[in-house]
């Protein structure tokens, strides 16, 4: 067993904590996708909560990776997912409005 420096140990455990913090966002995004009544609210639940969860997971893994190249690649992945998710959320919501899909209201 290689003796681990104290600094790396702290980074590793804080990274684990960040990943653990990001998991409920994914699960709540899925629960919102199942439970919400409308396409607009489902888009809202999914494209926001999942990206926050992915941000937590990426930052936790970047703290644990210990190299700048892996950190840059992880941040690039998160940036690409953000761009794709926001663009497709906007496109789907606009197209649903043009197709006369009524938003859900509480009667």
């Amino acid at each position: 067993m290689v003796p681990v420096k104290k600094n790396m140990d702290i980074l590793y455990h804080s990274g684990t904590l960040l990943i653990l913090l990001g998991l409920p966002f994914f699960l709540s995004g899925t629960v919102g996708l199942i439970r919400f009544p409308d396409i607009y609210t489902r888009l809202h639940a999914l494209t926001k909560a999942d990206n926050v969860g992915l941000g937590f997971v990426v930052s936790g893994l970047a703290l644990q990776s210990g190299s700048w190249a892996v950190t840059a690649k992880l941040l690039l992945i998160w940036l690409l997912v953000l761009i794709a998710s926001s663009a497709s959320c906007h496109l789907i919501a606009r197209s649903a409005m043009q197709k006369n899909i009524q938003p859900w209201t509480r009667q």
């Binding site: 409308d38 396409i39 197709k99 899909i101 009524q102 859900w104």
Partner: protein, 95 residues
């Protein structure tokens, strides 16, 4: 411990893939089948990763997510109805 968790991961992955394939082949809504095919490609990529073949997983990700999904979706508009009762898109889109 690691072996145990990997085994549970593989079992859940394989069962969900079989379930997706069953619904994909059984449905009459072709758009639903296309979306299920895209999801099946993603889970297939995960399965290739678990079979320690990352190169095949990379090809599956590029082909399944980037090529066949858009091709099926753009072919869906041009397709004629071949059978009665077969739906290309959802008939009632009210909500």
């Amino acid at each position: 411990m690691s072996y145990f968790i990997f085994t549970i991961f593989d079992i859940v992955l394989v069962l969900s893939m079989v379930w997706i394939a069953w619904h994909l082949l059984g449905t009459e809504d072709i758009f639903k089948a296309v979306v299920l095919f895209i999801s099946f490609g993603l889970l297939m990529a995960l399965a290739w990763v678990r079979m320690r073949a990352p190169d095949v997983a990379l090809a599956e990700a590029a082909l399944g997510a980037g090529l066949t999904g858009p091709l099926f979706l753009s072919a869906l508009r041009r397709m004629n109805r071949t059978r009665k009762g077969e739906r290309r898109l959802d008939s009632d889109e009210t909500r």
